[in-house]
């Protein structure tokens, strides 16, 4: 996902000199192409995230489109007030790119686990939130962001995620992307946790339960048509590699609280009672309730 994003931004930057990429001294081996070939469109701001974010906003205020690249919590929570005041309130064209969503950097410890960023970004005014589910989606999200004005947040995983081959079609970024279709209910997800959701759906099928699976990329534009069809069909489970307060599931709950009737629904996210545990992404997903097995159990419990 990370390489797909950088490649698509690089291609856009070749054609548009107004694009600037700022890194907070991260992206070893990934951003070299920018630094080497487009030095006038690249800044390494050092390890100074707060100033980096205000600097990005100031640069953008001169008519440029600025992407700020760093890991997990560094370009988000570390410089939250700079995002709130200088980017969002001033409506500057700054896109925050946080790589290492969820437990992508699992073995690096809690400082590197991104579990609260969606909630915090969702609470900011004027902020568009894009969470691609696979590399192709990261490319589509980048194109979408480039077609829009104002602040945005792009939350991406790491490298090596496969594209969802089974996806029916590459539909509009504003539509939920249905990967499987079933008549007994729906599992909605955001981000790269989709692979565990698909495995859970396969296990459910072995139990005779046919479940639809759909991913949401643009959290700032909910596909109400899909949500209403899903609610009419059966129970809904939401899944995110993120804590539940204020996250993706919370967004869906807010939708149903305001629009129409509540379906039978549960929201599944990362438990935070094992914060000090270290391990691989797969290990931490399992430990904190996001294994395909637990997704299966949680959906079955809704029937």
């Amino acid at each position: 996902m990370r390489k797909a994003f950088v490649k698509s931004l690089y291609e856009a930057a070749l054609a548009d000199e107004k694009i600037l990429l700022i890194t907070g001294d991260l992206g070893y081996g990934v951003l070299d192409i920018f630094e080497k070939n487009l030095p006038n469109q690249f800044i390494n701001a050092g390890i100074a995230e707060q100033s980096m974010m205000s600097l990005a906003a100031g640069y953008a205020s001169t008519g440029h489109r600025v992407f700020v690249y760093s890991i997990g919590n560094f370009p988000t929570i570390r410089c939250l007030e700079q995002i709130r005041n200088d980017v969002c309130f001033m409506e500057n064209n700054v896109t925050i790119v946080a790589v290492g969503a969820g437990y992508s950097y699992g073995s690096q410890g809690y400082s590197h686990h991104a579990l609260e960023d969606i909630s915090i970004m969702r609470s900011l005014p004027n902020m568009k939130i894009m969470i691609p589910m696979d590399p192709q989606d990261a490319v589509d999200s980048t194109s979408y962001i480039l077609s829009q004005e104002g602040p945005s947040y792009l939350r991406i995983g790491k490298d090596g995620e496969p594209n969802f081959e089974s996806r029916i079609e590459r539909c509009s970024i504003n539509k939920f992307k249905e990967i499987r279709n079933g008549s007994h209910g729906t599992i909605l997800f955001t981000g790269s946790i989709g692979k565990n959701v698909v495995r859970a759906a396969e296990s459910l099928l072995a139990m005779g339960i046919e479940v639809s699976v759909a991913g949401c990329t643009n959290l700032s534009f909910l596909d109400s048509e899909y949500l209403e069809q899903a609610a009419a069909k059966g129970p809904i489970l939401t899944v995110e590699e993120h804590a539940t307060p204020g996250g993706f599931g919370s967004l869906i709950l807010e939708y149903f609280a305001v629009n129409g009737e509540f379906p039978k629904i549960n929201i599944l996210g990362a438990a935070r009672n094992n914060l000090k545990n270290i391990g691989s992404q797969e290990y931490l997903l399992e430990l904190n309730g996001l294994s395909s097995e637990n997704i299966k159990i949680q959906f079955a419990a809704l029937l």
Binding site: M52, S54, L55, T62, Q82, N85, D86, M90
Partner: protein, 268 residues
């Protein structure tokens, strides 16, 4: 062109507007506004091209008022130079007002809303880098408080500006030596402040922040490094009973105090 007589007249009018505004709104920060008003008056009268600011010309000098709590000072100077309608300051802090107690960018000539300290400087660094990379003339001038030197972003930005050799960036520190509860040296000592900036690779100068000619000359000199002017000022300058007291960081004048303030300013 440096015409310090007229900038002195501008600062006198603006001082009166400041005390009227804080009286009207029962608002704080009279002292902070009065200490920085001479700096702002010189910048807007003698340094910048007002037409370029009006038209938001990409080659304009960009002034960022990073000490957002001295909003009354900025608003009054903008009104007295024709960059903002007088009606707006008549409604300072009122319900539905476009301008509040901290700098609010509701009019185009105000580049950035501030109020939380340590934001204006890095924002200005971004603009200064953009100007350099895109060959746009004009300087970026940041007016900040001495208390703002407590913020980590001040020193991050000092590193950044020096690293990127931003000789189109000027930081003016309103060195009134008082912050929110006590003096700066009792709170979180800044001295030797000039040496700190010099060691960060800046052209650093101490000036009298109430001497218009000295301010104008110091701003106009351009070297090869970013420049900081430590402008020694008196908090509350121009109103005797407001000078050098923390009380007038907070207190608004009552009617009697307002009339006395206007009298003193007019007679100065």
């Amino acid at each position: 062109m440096i015409e310090n007589k007229s900038s002195i007249e501008l600062s006198r009018k603006s001082r009166i507007d400041i005390v009227k505004m804080t009286f009207h709104a029962n608002a704080s920060h009279s002292g902070s506004s009065l200490s920085s008003i001479d700096i702002l008056s010189v910048l807007y009268f003698s340094i910048v091209d007002l037409e370029k600011i009006k038209t938001l010309d990409i080659t304009r000098d960009v002034i960022i008022m990073s000490k957002g709590h001295a909003a009354a000072a900025l608003y009054s100077v903008l009104v007295n130079t024709g960059l903002m309608d007088r009606e707006l300051i008549g409604a300072y802090c009122d319900d539905g007002s476009l301008i509040g107690g901290h700098v609010t960018s509701s009019v185009p000539s105000i580049e950035l809303s501030t109020g939380s300290l340590g934001h204006g400087f890095p924002y200005g660094v971004g603009i200064a880098i953009s100007k350099k990379r895109n060959n746009h003339s004009g300087n970026v001038i940041i007016v900040m408080s001495d208390g703002e030197c407590d913020e980590g972003t001040t020193w991050e930005s000092a590193l950044l500006a020096s690293h990127f050799k931003l000789n189109n960036l000027i930081v003016i520190i309103d060195r009134n030596r008082l912050q929110s509860l006590r003096g700066t040296e009792e709170t979180l000592a800044l001295e030797p402040l000039l040496k700190k900036w010099e060691s960060f690779g800046w052209d650093a100068h101490e000036i009298d922040g109430h001497d218009h000619l000295e301010i104008a000359q110091a701003v106009s000199r351009r070297g090869s490094n970013p420049k900081v002017l430590i402008a020694n000022t008196v908090k509350g300058k121009g109103v005797s009973y407001m000078e050098n007291t923390v009380l007038w960081h907070y207190k608004a004048p009552n009617e009697e105090e307002l009339l006395l303030a206007i009298k003193e300013i007019n007679e100065s």
